[in-house]
Amino acid sequence: MANLWTITWRELKAYFASPIAYVVSALFLATVGFLFALILLNGREASLRGAFSNMNFLLLLVAPAITMRLLAEEQRMGTIELLLTAPVRDWQVVVGKFLGSVILFATMLLGPTLYYVLLIGVLGKPDYGPIITGYIGILLLGASFLAVGVFASALTQNQIVAYFIGIAILILLWIADAGGAIAGSGNLMSSVLGYIAITKHFNDFFRGVVSLTDVVYAFSVIAVALFLATQILQTRRWR
């Protein structure tokens, strides 16, 4: 456990030492803030549902940018040799880095957007249920995306390549149910593709519903992505 935190902690410090964290957070918040204001002015509804649904798509672009560096840069700079020859398990390296990215994302999300909650709380009478479940949903969605990004970062030494691989995988997950529709309805293929489709699992959160299936789904995506990233790290040893 101590090893895990050592890696997570270093990762967090690295984020704040590089401009990436600031640039990505600034762009993310500017866009979300713009959307929030737009939706609020048009709808005049004291909820964050609109803002949450829009964060969905933004995260598709933002999450791989947060994670692209994690393993790719270690492999490029050779620092991976320090980690893989320290008394630390490969999965601890992967999970430690993943946790670092999740903590960064949570800080960048919660810190400034809680201001929106305050704002609509002062101006209107919001239903706090969907806001809380919405935050849970966004955090789970973000964590799933970040895990996929960590996997993409394990595949290459090049951050930019890692970024685009991450986006490509996420887009495939995103539109998987469209593929399911082509496969027809009621057959195994379409139900599998329908289940894989990532955004489907998060709409309920924004409506105030936390379903076990969706939570299990998020943790499955995270577990599979991190497991595969660890495997890739291990196969690097054999080459």
Binding site: A2, N3, T6, I7, R10, K13, A14, A17, S18, M77, G78, T79, I80, E81, L82, L83, L84, T85, A86, P87, V88, R89, R237, W238, R239
Partner: protein
């Protein structure tokens, strides 16, 4: 462990990269407290051997034990006992020296971190750079931070891949002293392709070429082994064409090569010192001896001889 003093034991190590043999059938032992030098041209298999010992990659065949633990099966136990400086120094440029060493110490589970870091920085002479960002340091300082990282947890075994590369002569001497001072308590393996380095720091040398061990001995014995004959350097005031033939008549002299400026290189039987006879001859003929001394073959020559012999033998096969 079969023997209480054997710290590192490599048995028939082999490593394939695809179809290419990086290492074939490498077997050696390192005693506790010894400094072993890996010598070999670039691409000979030094880094691969070190990577196997540190648990970075498993061997394709064979096995290795460090402090009694198998490097593959008990990798974590082995890694706890090893300090490793890889060939490309694994530094995070955005960290300060102190933060980096703190990270390295935490990874190895060091208890008393502050004093361990201070000790490592003092030994490598980087204390005054503690708060500087690693990315801003010169190559020599970066190298020393890499070494500090390898010794911060006071490991039983130190594996240093090209530890003095990129350092200036003064720093090289400092690092050599440091490595020597670590011997005894620590077991050290270092690789280099710089020959004076091994002859000055190592108690034993292992010459690797083309993935195989071609020689293993102390620096002195290695040169003696390759020598095969004694060499004498002679310089006379009056160079003359007949001098080589005259000297060759002396008993035990195998051959004489004439060089410019009245310099002759005389080869004699191994174990026989013919200097007195040759001096007597020179005085008798009035050549005017300016200088006469035995020549010991340098490690460079040993190395070249061993590695090129290996190559021609390999070509023939």
């Amino acid at each position: 462990m079969e023997n209480g003093n054997v710290m590192i034991q490599a048995q028939n190590l082999a490593k394939m990269y695809g179809n290419a043999h990086a290492l074939r059938d490498v077997t050696f032992e390192v005693q506790k407290g010894e400094i072993l030098g890996f010598l070999g041209p670039n691409g000979a298999g030094k880094t691969t051997t070190m990577r196997i010992l540190t648990g970075f990659m498993p061997p394709s065949a064979g096995s290795a034990r460090v402090a009694g633990f198998d490097v593959f099966a008990d990798s974590i136990e082995v890694r706890k006992r090893i300090g490793y400086l890889p060939e490309s120094v694994p530094l995070y440029y955005e960290m300060s020296v102190w933060d980096y060493l703190d990270f390295a110490a935490r990874l190895r589970g060091v208890k008393n971190r502050d004093s361990a870091i201070e000790r490592a920085m003092e030994m490598t002479n980087i204390s005054e750079r503690a708060d500087q960002l690693i990315g801003k340091l010169s190559k020599g300082y970066k190298q020393r931070v890499g070494i500090a990282q390898a010794i911060v947890h006071n490991p039983e075994v130190l594996i240093l891949d090209e530890p003095t590369i990129g350092l200036d002569p003064k720093q090289i001497i400092e690092i050599r002293h440091l490595i020597k001072s670590l011997a005894g308590d620590h077991t050290v393996i270092l690789s280099t392709h710089i020959l004076p380095e091994v002859s000055q720091t190592c108690s034993r040398i292992l010459i690797i070429n083309d993935g195989k061990i071609v020689a293993e001995d102390t620096p002195e014995r290695l040169s003696a082994r390759v020598r095969g004959a004694e060499h004498i350097h002679l310089q006379v005031a009056q160079a003359a064409p007949e001098i080589p033939t005259e000297i060759e008549k002396v008993q035990g002299v195998l051959g004489v090569t004439a060089h410019d400026g009245g310099v002759y290189e005389i080869e004699t039987n191994l174990g026989a010192d013919r200097r007195a006879d040759i001096a007597a001859l020179a005085v008798q003929r009035g050549w005017g001896v300016l200088e006469m001394r035995p020549v010991s073959i340098s490690l460079e020559e040993v190395f070249l001889k061993l590695t090129t012999e290996e190559k021609s033998a390999g070509d023939g096969a």
